[in-house]
């Protein structure tokens, strides 16, 4: 049975956490430390963008500053997130082989099972949902992302013990027109916390214990509480400052200082009701970045809409690709009344670059 180490350095500012990610993955790549489970808590609260994102496209800097929310960049991929003391960051750092290219769609479900099983110990029925979510009844409780480096990976995510949706909406630049009660409610419906599911937020230490137990069971390894090696501690001290510098945090700039992701509000009348789609695309308008679906149609179960939103995240704006995603979604057996597959494609088609592909 392999022995892994567990690192838990308690709440730290984001720049120290990000620096430590790099130190740990480098140490593991060099084989100077074993595979590692690391917990991350953030203090002060932090808005984190993905490695390839631009701060100014994702975060409202002035609001973050006003609220005392730090800003930083992860070494892993994915979107912008808000972290405060009510979320647990967890990460798995493991060696996979020097010549390995990672197939995210294969690796994620295996490793996300650790969180799924940890939640299961409270009786919470969570599941992995592609691309990168762990969900409960369609609502996201953990988002994940990863990076590889010389045959070593970090796969990391958040676990929502509780969540301050209002602050997140103020700090992150999400496609909502104003901070209305409705938009707060709408976002809150797409997330779920352990507090909501259990009636109260569980103690952080208990969550950590159960994640550790789940990791040992899922991966069949022994886990030993540990501390950084002297080499890691030195490397961390030497490198940490660079992760609070603009050269790191702002290493990718938006095309123009006041740029925004394109945002489209689409409506389509299906026989079963009106579909309202708020779609944010990437700058090149080749992919969906985020989509919010509302309307007055009926579907059972209600999670279907959240699953469709998740399935369409990052989808290419090509008719055939969208058709394939929607077909797959309908195959899972959701019951839409009077809303057919082709209605979704018709609703989205104004955004597609190659409409000639389809015969709409």
């Amino acid at each position: 049975m392999d022995t892994w180490r567990m690192l838990d350095l308690g709440p730290l500012p984001a720049w120290k956490q990000m620096a430590l990610d790099k130190v740990v993955i480098e140490a593991r790549a060099r084989d100077s430390v074993p595979n590692t489970l690391r917990f991350m808590e953030f203090y002060p609260p932090t808005a984190l963008i993905g490695y390839h994102q631009s701060v100014d496209l994702e975060i409202n800097r002035s609001q973050a500053e006003r609220l005392g929310v730090e800003i930083n960049r992860r070494i892993t991929g994915g979107g912008a997130i808000y972290m405060d003391a009510q979320q647990l960051g967890w990460e798995i750092c493991m060696k996979v082989g020097a010549s390995q290219r990672i197939r995210p769609e294969s690796l994620y479900p295996q490793l996300a099972q650790v969180v799924v099983e940890a939640l299961g110990s409270w009786g919470i029925k969570a599941h992995f949902r592609p691309v990168n979510d762990v969900e409960v009844d369609g609502r996201k409780i953990s988002g994940t992302g990863g990076v590889d480096y010389y045959g070593t990976v970090i796969y990391q995510g958040t676990l929502l013990l509780d969540f301050d949706v209002k602050t997140m909406l103020e700090v992150l630049r999400l496609p909502v027109e104003k901070l209305s009660d409705k938009s707060v409610t709408s976002f809150a419906q797409r997330l779920v916390t352990m507090r909501e599911l259990l009636g109260q937020s569980p103690p952080m230490d208990e969550v950590k214990e159960r994640v550790q137990a789940a990791l040992m069971h899922v991966l069949g390894v022994r886990l030993v509480p540990s501390s950084l090696t002297d080499f890691e501690a030195d490397a961390w001290q030497q490198s940490a400052e660079t992760y609070r510098m603009p050269q790191w945090i702002d290493r990718r700039k938006p095309p123009q200082p006041d740029a925004n992701y394109p945002l489209e509000n689409l409506t389509y009348k299906a026989s079963g009701g009106l579909l309202r789609l708020t779609v944010q695309t990437n700058m090149a308008m080749t992919h969906i970045k985020t989509i919010f679906i509302t309307g007055d149609f009926f579907v059972y179960p209600e999670r279907a809409v959240l699953d469709l939103e998740a399935a369409l995240k990052d989808a290419p704006l090509e008719i055939h690709a969208l058709q394939s995603i929607v077909q797959q979604h309908y195959r899972t057996g959701y019951q839409y009344l009077g809303v057919k597959e082709e209605d979704w494609i018709a609703a989205l088609s104004p955004l597609c670059l190659n409409r000639r592909e389809g015969s709409l």
Partner: protein
């Protein structure tokens, strides 16, 4: 009798390959670097690519750029010591070109090398090696 590779990925003859699943093609003094079909296929839909500025010094084996797919950041590793002459703007504007045409329009950089390419794999050798790789 020729032995068919047991993998499904395209390997283009006439190029050299490294063990990070990248190809190089020498044309006079410039060497073009790209990722292989295996890399784009395992990554899935590539949404971001970060490439170096012209003039960036390449150190063999060190990351010189990155790609992102499915919320995953994968590294691009310098195949040789050298200096970047040009990075492919098409790839940065439309990273999916790496999925569509990794051996053609999806080239990454053109660089001058200061180390030799003698340790690279031929197309046949890479194809044979690829057949032995596990895919996560």
């Amino acid at each position: 009798m020729a032995i068919e590779p047991i993998h499904r990925w395209k390997v283009v003859p006439g190029r050299l390959y490294d063990r990070h699943h990248q190809w190089v093609l020498q044309e006079d003094v410039l060497i073009t670097v790209g990722v292989t079909d295996y890399t784009q296929d395992t990554a899935g839909d590539i949404l971001y690519a970060a490439l170096p500025e012209p003039g960036t010094v390449l150190v063999e084996g060190m990351p010189f750029g990155s790609i992102e797919s499915g919320k995953w950041v994968g590294q691009l590793y310098a195949p040789f010591d050298g200096v970047v002459i040009v990075a492919n703007a098409l790839v940065q504007d439309d990273p999916q070109i790496l999925n569509r045409d990794p051996y053609g329009q999806g080239w990454l950089i053109k660089a001058r090398a200061t180390t030799s390419l003698e340790n690279f794999l031929s197309a046949d050798a890479y194809s044979a090696w690829l057949s032995q790789q596990d895919v996560l």
